[in-house]
């Protein structure tokens, strides 16, 4: 902070605009609180009751939560949700980064091509769900047609528990890789080109260039991508519901599908709310882990690369 200006003028300026930070923060906070206070309190409250269609809404305390922790479908849903999240988010990020590195070249036509990659992200989940369900169907689908040609046997994706889960991971990855791609692309463009020039003078390898120069600038976009994709993937619903309904059996059921089942098929609102809050707890845990992991390594890299970020 420069000390060139006379303190009194700066202080006077600060005094007059003391309201400014509040004007910045309050609108968003007030709107958010006003909109969410009732739903949050209600849904937390109802999760402690037995509220449902035609049932007395008696207070049952933590019984709903306890019941889920004893229910094997809950643990199955939890396992599936974690598997889908870890694999989908992992592959999305990796693939997104690779694609961004490929497409940042200013080769003719690349800009137009990269636009086409955004398409999956823009399609409605219904469109994607129905389309891919059809694609994976061994009687009608092109994908199954191809795998049958390649392996000689009829591969039935959506009726085999491991393959059905794989199918969902494939589709989710396909849908959201453009998200990681876009964020990474934005991040890549913040890298000052001088650093690359300096690196080529020093004859640094491509990998070194990536690790030392590019990666620090990708920290922020990648953190955002991982964070938001994790939060959204744990809540995955539309895709699973449309493609398999949680089947075969319960092999692809996720926590949100379970909540839907309790909320809208059995109409036990209390229990559905309890599952939803368990989802929130899970996401909170994951996010805290991610934030602390990224936070720590981010700070370490900033210190070690010195000129990395202009602050």
């Amino acid at each position: 902070m420069s000390a060139a200006a006379p303190p009194s003028a700066m202080q006077a300026a600060h005094q007059r605009y003391r309201w400014f930070p509040y004007a910045l923060l309050l609108p968003a906070l007030v709107v958010l609180v006003a909109l969410t206070i009732f739903p949050l309190v209600f849904s937390l409250g109802v999760s402690l009751t037995g509220y449902g269609l035609g049932r007395a809404a008696g207070f049952v305390g933590p019984a709903n939560y306890a019941q889920f922790l004893r229910d094997p479908s809950f643990w199955l849903a939890l396992r599936n949700t974690l598997v889908i999240t870890v694999f989908a988010v992992g592959i999305e990020i990796a693939l997104g980064v690779c694609l961004a590195l490929l497409f940042r070249e200013s080769l003719p036509g690349f800009r137009a091509l990269s636009l086409l990659i955004f398409i999956p992200m823009m399609l409605s989940p219904l469109v994607i769900g129905f389309f891919w369900k059809f694609m994976f169907d061994s009687t009608f689908g092109v994908l199954a047609y191809v795998t049958t040609l390649l392996t000689g046997r009829t591969v039935s994706w959506l009726t085999s528990p491991p393959l059905a889960l794989a199918a969902i991971i494939i589709v989710d990855t396909w849908q959201w890789t453009p998200f990681a791609f876009l964020l990474t692309l934005a991040g890549l463009q913040t890298v000052p080109p001088q650093l690359y020039e300096a690196a080529s003078l020093e004859r640094a390898s491509a990998w070194m260039r990536f690790r030392r120069i590019t990666l620090p600038y990708l920290r922020f976009p990648l953190l955002l991508a991982v964070l938001f994709r994790t939060i959204d993937t744990v809540r995955i619903f539309d895709l699973v519901y449309i493609m398999t309904g949680g089947g075969p059996g319960d092999a692809t059921i996720t926590l949100s599908v379970l909540a839907y089942r309790y909320g809208f098929q059995f109409y036990e609102v209390g229990r559905a709310a309890a599952v939803s809050w368990l989802i929130v707890v899970l996401i909170n845990l994951l996010v805290m882990v991610l934030l602390s992991f990224m936070g720590k390594s981010g700070a370490a890299t900033a210190r070690s690369t010195g000129s990395g970020r202009a602050r």
Binding site: G54, D137, T139, F140, P161, G245, P248, R261, Q265
Partner: protein, 466 residues
């Protein structure tokens, strides 16, 4: 100063922009009836006739909101739960009756305001009893009704009237059966009379890479696989539960049922006469398989047959034939025991409607002989009426109706109690697992029985003494 103004302007701009998005609900005109309906083919016909006849006659505007099956269930439950007057009339599926009545969502009709009024234009007796009693009265035991014992329910409260009826029937490719030599004395294709016959015909018709001999809708979602398997289970003499004792244990996992399930799963796991993918199939996929000449025979809803005769959608126009479903031959008597899956909609007035008398006027009009005949006359409606005085007329509309109505006395239905959704989900899961070979039939049914019994035992709706 300029900046403060700028901020004010910004704030004002936001407010204006937000207010612009405001859209209050238009004031409702007098007596505007809203009906929650399934998007089956009779719905557009109903809307058209209501606009052309009912509205001019009474001045009451009618709007049918056509929804998918899932959405109707969800919306109705939401309406009941919040006691809202969103819908005045609902066309509901028979198995939801228990839940809706238990939650006090439907208006009782056997009162002097409605059916018992001296001015009532329709009567409960106008309708075929095997449909009317199951779909409209609660509580009833479907197996008793279908065995013809209606008098037990003479005083049972009435909540709905049968709207569109139907059963699953056997669809088969007459041309393929003829080609393969399965014909009767006149040289016409002869559909299977028993399920084992069905399997052997399907085996003969299955050509790898070309077409499967049969289809199933063994999907996990909704009630697909249960609809497919239950008729086989019932034809084999088994049952779902003991409705008097509220007992599933020992009933659904009886030896006959295990045998029936093994028989059904073998279609996929042993004989490969059905696509493996059908374990994820519902109505849509079966329709496509049939229409695209990918499978030759199977159970299906009579209503769908109409679309198979449409050149725009189907490659098998004119090739399909219909019959009552096959059964199992009883070893002792030599008679064939058949069972068909029941699938009907009824109509009721919602308990929170603000226009109940108008709704009743509509229902009387809809259920009248003239209106039902008009709906039958429209070939796109694929409608099967439950009116007794239109029985022969309905049968004569097309071959599917004949098969469907002849299946009436063979029909069985699901549990019709408030725990329906949970019971269904359990059985769906277990049957699906057995069908793909993840569990043996015995294991699947035993697990189902255990979980079903848990739900039944814990249910707050369990009758005393059960």
């Amino acid at each position: 100063m300029r900046t403060r103004k700028a901020f004010f302007a910004l704030a004002l701009g936001i407010a204006v922009v937000v207010a612009a998005g405001c859209g209050r609900r238009a004031q409702q005109p007098q007596a505007h009836l809203r009906i929650l309906a399934l998007n089956w083919p009779q719905a557009p016909v109903e809307q058209r006739l209501a606009d052309e006849i009912f509205t001019p006659r009474t001045g009451i505007k009618v709007t049918l909101e056509m929804n998918t099956y899932d959405n109707v269930e969800v919306k109705m439950k939401q309406v009941i739960n919040s006691r809202s007057s969103d819908y005045d009339i609902v066309h509901y599926d028979s198995q939801w009756l228990g839940q809706f009545v238990a939650a006090n969502g439907l208006e009782r009709l056997d009162t002097p305001d409605y059916l018992d009024s001296p001015d009532a234009e329709i009567s409960f007796d106008d309708f075929l009893p095997e449909y009317a009693v199951v779909m409209g009265k609660y509580p009833t035991d479907a197996s008793e009704v279908f065995a013809g014992r209606f008098d037990r329910y003479r005083d049972t409260p009435i909540y709905g009237l049968p709207w569109a009826t139907g059963c699953q029937i056997m669809f088969y490719r007459a041309d393929l059966l003829k080609q393969a030599g399965f014909v009767d004395e006149q040289g016409n294709a002869k559909p299977p009379e028993t399920w084992p016959e069905f399997v052997s015909i399907a085996k003969a018709l299955t050509k790898r890479g070309v077409r499967y001999g049969a289809w199933t809708h063994a999907g996990r979602q909704g009630d697909y696989i249960t609809q497919d398997f239950f008729p086989i289970m019932w034809a084999n003499g088994g049952d779902l539960w003991d409705s008097k004792a509220w007992r599933a244990q020992g009933v659904i996992n009886s030896p006959q049922n295990v045998e029936a399930l093994q028989f059904y799963c073998d279609w996929n796991l042993k004989h490969h006469i059905v696509p493996a993918e059908s374990a994820n199939w519902g109505n849509e996929e079966v329709f496509n398989a049939c229409a695209q000449d990918q499978a030759a025979m199977g159970q299906f809803w009579a209503t769908f047959g109409a679309a198979l005769e449409d050149h725009d959608r189907s490659k098998v126009v004119g090739k399909m034939a219909y019959a009552v479903v096959p059964g199992f031959r009883d070893g002792r008597t030599g008679k064939i025991r058949r069972a068909a899956m029941y699938g009907c909609q009824a109509t009721a007035i919602t308990a929170f409607s603000k226009h109940k008398q108008a709704a009743w006027a509509y229902i009387q009009w809809l259920m009248s002989r003239e209106t039902q005949k008009a709906i039958l006359d429209d070939p796109t409606s694929a409608f099967v009426s439950a009116r007794e005085d239109l029985l022969e007329y309905t049968k004569s509309r097309n071959p599917r109706n004949r098969a469907a109505l002849e299946s009436g006395f063979l029909a069985h239905d699901f549990w019709n109690n408030p725990e329906y959704s949970k019971l269904l989900d359990i059985v769906q899961r277990e049957l699906n697992l057995a069908f793909i070979g993840q569990k043996t039939p015995k294991r699947a049914l035993d697990d189902a029985a255990r979980d079903l019994q848990q739900v039944l035992d814990a249910s707050p709706f369990r009758p005393k003494g059960a």
